[in-house]
Amino acid sequence: MRRGHAVALGMVFILAALAPILASSNPDGLEKTAEKFESAQGREAELLSSPFPDYTVYGIEGTASEVVAMLIGTALVFAVSLGIAKAVARAG
């Protein structure tokens, strides 16, 4: 990994930690649109019990929970992408 990558990755983790602190908690565009229509009510279903529901970690309270969840998620996305990209590149 070149130096530019390492610096960029460091900035990504700083962004991940700051995001829950800075983010707006208003509903997003799709949720807000769904609120307007009778036909959308009561449809949403939770089929999977996710390990980090709503970007929180069980046993940690408040914003810290979201910060930890984001750091875990960012590391996870990095690792999964790296693994898949390397495996795919090797297959060729």
């Binding site: 530019g4 565009g29 649109t33 959308a40 996710s50 390990p51 992408s81 790296l82 795919v88």
Partner: protein
């Protein structure tokens, strides 16, 4: 604009999943044949996951976040970069964070990965010479997000969850604003910053296209 489980019936969701799988597979081919820089792809994927958590407030008590497919496409010089990265980001979000449903993962990949990346990247290419890199990045990212939002509205209308006209109207309106304050602005900012500060981290082919 991640669609949750329950908003699209299983049969329709399966059709979107099959289509998304074809596009995701084609993006794997792009990685294998044209782009082997795994650490750069992974860094960009992690960055897009992080930025998607940064919801920016917009009027009407609503918020929205950047989605990133167009950014990836511009930086790496191919819309398949956006498809590859967003497929993985959306998969992790659905499996681990209940952000976007698992049965509708294909629909979300089609909208936020495929449609956004292609619509946005080709808008960027068409405008680049006339308005410059910053302006074209802004316009491409804006259009990519709005195109994804409208596609989502059409799918949800077919599903019977949203009425077609009002669904298009509200999804279009909210995401037009999110596209201005988040997707367009941040994409232009990141593209111009990377080019200025460290263009060498980009692959040679992407530098040419940029």
């Amino acid at each position: 604009m991640h669609i949750p489980d329950g908003f699209i019936p299983l049969g329709q969701a399966a059709v979107y999943s099959a289509a998304a799988l074809l596009f995701a597979a084609r993006s794997f081919k792009w990685v294998r044949e044209e782009f082997g820089e795994a650490p750069l792809l992974a860094t960009l994927a992690a960055g897009i996951f992080a930025i998607q958590a940064l919801n920016v407030p917009i009027p009407w008590g609503t918020s929205g976040h950047m989605t990133g497919g167009v950014l990836a496409a511009i930086l790496l010089g191919s819309p398949w970069a956006g498809v590859f990265i967003l497929s993985i980001v959306l998969l992790v979000q659905a499996l681990f964070f209940a952000d976007g449903g698992i049965t509708v993962l294909g629909a979300n990949i089609l909208n936020i990965g495929v449609i956004s990346s292609f619509a946005g990247y080709y808008t960027y290419l068409a405008l680049k010479r006339r308005v410059g890199i910053a302006g074209a990045s802004f316009a491409g990212a804006w259009f990519g997000l709005v195109a994804a939002a409208l596609a989502t509205a059409v799918e949800l209308a077919i599903a019977g969850t949203f009425p077609l006209r009002e669904g298009l109207l509200f999804m279009g309106m909210y995401h037009a604003v999110i596209g201005l304050v988040a997707e367009g602005t941040l994409t232009a900012l990141v593209v111009t910053t990377v080019l200025k500060v460290s263009p060498e981290i980009l692959p040679a082919r992407a530098r040419e296209v940029v």
